[in-house]
């Protein structure tokens, strides 16, 4: 970054005034309401502006687009952004690629990519899962071999979301086959736009194609794109997974129809009102239950955020993804019950059904993607509650000798 002079420490009030003043001078809500909101030029330009003003990742050090703010002060910034509905801050909590890179990347790679990632200029993907290694991610068989100043990568990845448009993928690959499985892994930023990378879209049950198969054939990754030490990939992966899971615990894709719910009203209440079943006592109980799940998860998340310094994970935080999975599946069931026969339908003429259908299917994105609910429960049991691990038959044998799936 060009301007790395340390910022003078500021009081909470000064921070609040500064961010509020800056938003007043710069924020234009039409960025979100314009036709191409979320993807378009105006949105991109806004994010770039937020990055330039050091609001995108205020907890981060000044050398890296930040302000070195404490967690409390960064939350003041987030609240001010939220108050006016402006996106772009909080990336120091939620931007999994940038955070992983900042924590574990080489100086050269950080200098090259952190800015573009924060500004949303490059698309990323996660090259973790393989046909034989999903929950058991340490069992990956994609290999990376050093050849001069670069690694050569061969193998196959699967379920890789956004691979088709990605510029870089965070890759976990095996660099040593003679040690137990967790110890022979390394973590890379793999350039996706190269001849050795072939991406084949997969059709999902939602009838979309966000995820892909990725075939890696003598793909090249510069040595400086290694994150962490060689053979320390598992620990880098844990950092990245913690960010991914905490983000998945806070939210998920909403309805697909694009039909707005009545402003101000709880969407489920609005839906039941519209369907004429708001008086049904059984549905009322269910609606209250699901809204409560959501509210409690939001409260849990807020408490976890307030409690913790950046990058650490809390017991409450690891519950978020599991809680979100239940919320999504239960909401899908409830929306179906509210709609009744109308849930038989689909398509643009039936937007409410479309929403319920999509949620019914896409809820699995949260309950399978990023580690399944079952794995998440194991993690909570073992790492949070300290319950003994199940014996793992292949934990301590050289990976060469491990039975494949």
């Amino acid at each position: 970054m060009d301007d790395a002079a340390p910022l003078a420490p500021a009081s909470d009030d000064q921070i609040r005034d500064e961010v509020a003043g800056w938003l007043k001078a710069n924020w234009d809500p039409s960025v979100l309401t314009s036709a191409q909101a979320g993807r378009g030029e105006a949105y991109r330009a806004w994010i770039a502006k937020v990055v330039e003003a050091r609001w995108a990742a205020p907890r981060w050090p000044v050398e890296w687009f930040g302000r070195g703010l404490s967690n409390e002060q960064a939350r003041i910034v987030e609240r001010e952004f939220a108050r006016v509905g402006a996106p772009g801050t909080g990336q120091d909590r939620t931007q999994l690629y940038a955070n992983t890179l900042l924590a574990k990347g080489t100086e050269a790679l950080k200098a090259k990519l952190i800015g573009p990632i924060l500004r949303g200029e490059i698309v990323m993907c996660l090259l973790y899962s393989e046909p034989g290694a999903g929950s058991d991610l340490a069992g990956v068989r994609t290999r990376a071999e050093l050849d001069g100043d670069h690694y050569v990568v061969n193998g196959q990845k699967v379920w890789t979301s956004t691979a088709a448009t990605a510029d870089y993928g965070m890759l976990i690959a095996r660099t040593n086959w003679d040690v137990p499985k967790h110890q022979g892994l390394s973590f890379f930023f793999l350039p996706m736009k190269q001849p050795g990378v072939e991406v084949r879209p997969l059709r999902q049950i939602t009838d979309e194609s966000h995820f892909n198969e990725v075939f890696l054939t003598d793909a090249i990754v510069p040595a400086e794109n290694l994150l962490g030490e060689l053979g320390q990939g598992w620990s880098v992966l844990q950092t990245a997974l913690a960010y991914e899971r905490s983000v998945m615990g806070e939210g998920a894709r909403g309805p697909r129809s694009g039909v707005a719910e009545a402003a101000g009203e709880e969407p489920l209440i609005a839906l039941a009102r519209e369907a004429g079943v708001l008086a049904d006592p059984m549905l009322r109980q269910d609606i209250a239950r699901v809204i409560a799940y959501k509210k409690l998860n939001a409260l849990n998340t807020a408490r976890a955020k307030a409690d913790l310094a950046q990058g650490t994970s809390s017991p409450v935080m690891s519950l978020g993804k599991l809680a979100m999975s239940r919320i999504l599946h239960e909401e899908a069931r409830l929306r179906t019950a509210i709609l009744g026969a109308a849930s038989l339908l689909e398509g643009p003429d039936h937007p409410r059904a479309e929403d319920a259908n999509f949620l019914t299917l896409n809820a699995y994105f949260t309950s399978i993607g990023g580690g399944t609910d079952q794995i998440q429960r194991n993690i909570i049991g073992e790492r949070v509650l300290g319950l003994p691990k199940e014996p793992e038959v292949d934990r301590d044998v050289p990976f060469r000798e491990v039975r494949g799936g």
Partner: protein, 370 residues
């Protein structure tokens, strides 16, 4: 009704299973669901040849003269194979409505075609509200003998777009009636509805002065409709139970074969316990469906309650089994190419087809005196 021995029933199950294994395998289902009609005409012809189109139609009218027990059994196989066919709409719901009404002329004229599978009949019952009760009927009839005219809308009509014969519920000044309508007649507009379950065909039909003839009814019209719905619910329960069991089977097979952490995923308690819970669900569904079939076949005093029980127990077992199955498979079942979502879609549709589980649970407690 002809009496059918247990041996004959076993033989029936075997031959249906064989036929469906050959002609309603997953690839066949996917092909059929992409067609406009939504079913394979050639397979339908074969099913008819085996006597399945007219399974529950009396022998006098070209049917097999079988009853709820055989229907339930055939539908278990149909559900397991995700069979795409107009059987439930035509050979069960419409045929049983004709029988229940007891209009001899209409039976003589319509049932042989339905039994032979050459004519597709369906019942247009509910309106846009989608409630399977007399209050749900949203078509009115005006005029009189020789000149009935229908107005209004019927929706969620199974195979409405494929039907040769429409049996339409309508309110006339003298009460509810069943009217026969030629789908090609002026004033009848049939629109195919896009369905979440691609193996299902539903239509919305609007009537604007559509000419109709009223079928004679030997007793109260809704009683006849309920009789037809009862038989259709037995069939549907069988489909759900058979579907749930098949999904459990392929899921357990996968749990034995898929290795993670150096062992079969089925060796993890998380997976094992889900599978065990689903076994309880799907076995209970089979019991409920067969019990409903038996009760209806025997005309037992508890038949209506047994049907309500099966309606919600089987609907929920099938829904839960398909939903859990996807979770148990992991990422592979999030793909279009995997069959799990086809069953999930079918389960979700079946759970609404003649009214949701909540409706049948309420009916159940009422039937128990609550």
């Amino acid at each position: 009704m002809a009496t059918i021995s247990a041996d004959e029933r076993g033989a029936l199950r075997d031959s249906v299973r064989r036929l469906l294994a050959d002609h309603s395998a997953e690839a066949d289902v996917r092909r059929a669901m992409e067609t406009e009609a939504g079913y394979d005409a050639e397979l339908w012809r074969r099913l008819a040849e085996m006597g399945l189109a007219g399974l529950v139609i009396e022998e006098d009218f070209g049917g097999a003269g079988a009853g709820p027990l055989e229907l339930e059994l055939v539908m278990e196989e149909a559900g397991a194979a995700l069979l795409c066919s107009p059987l439930l709409a035509s050979g069960v719901l419409a045929a049983e409505l004709l029988r229940a009404l007891g209009d001899e002329e209409a039976k003589t004229r319509l049932l042989p075609g339905i039994a032979a599978g050459t004519a597709i009949a369906t019942v247009a019952l509910t309106g846009d509200a989608g409630t399977w009760t007399p209050e749900g009927v949203a078509v009115t009839a005006a005029g009189g003998p020789g000149d009935w005219r229908l107005e209004g809308v019927a929706s969620y009509v199974m195979h409405g777009q494929n039907a040769d014969v429409l049996l339409v519920l309508a309110n006339a000044s003298d009460g509810l009636g069943v009217f026969e309508v030629d789908p090609a007649a002026a004033g009848v507009a049939i629109a195919a509805l896009p369905t979440f379950d691609h193996t299902l065909r539903l239509a919305r039909i609007s009537f604007e002065g559509a000419p109709a003839s009223k079928l004679k009814a030997a007793g109260p019209v809704w009683d006849a409709v309920q009789q037809a719905l009862n038989l259709a619910l037995v069939g549907l329960s069988g489909e759900q139970a058979g579907g749930a069991r098949r999904v459990l089977d392929f899921t357990v097979d996968y749990a034995k074969a898929r290795i993670q952490f150096g062992r079969a995923i089925g060796s993890f308690q998380a997976i094992k316990h889900m599978a065990s819970d689903l076994l309880l669900e799907s076995e209970s569904a089979i019991s409920a469906a067969r019990n409903a079939a038996r009760a209806l076949a025997e005309d037992a005093p508890d038949a209506e309650a047994a049907i309500s029980l099966a309606a919600f127990a089987c609907a929920e077992a099938f829904s839960l089994t398909t939903a859990t199955s996807i979770q148990m498979h992991g990422g592979i079942a999030f793909t279009w190419a995997h069959p799990a979502h086809l069953y999930l879609r079918r389960a979700r549709a079946d759970a609404q087809l003649f009214g949701p589980p909540a409706y049948y649970r309420e009916r159940y407690i009422q039937q128990l005196g609550g």
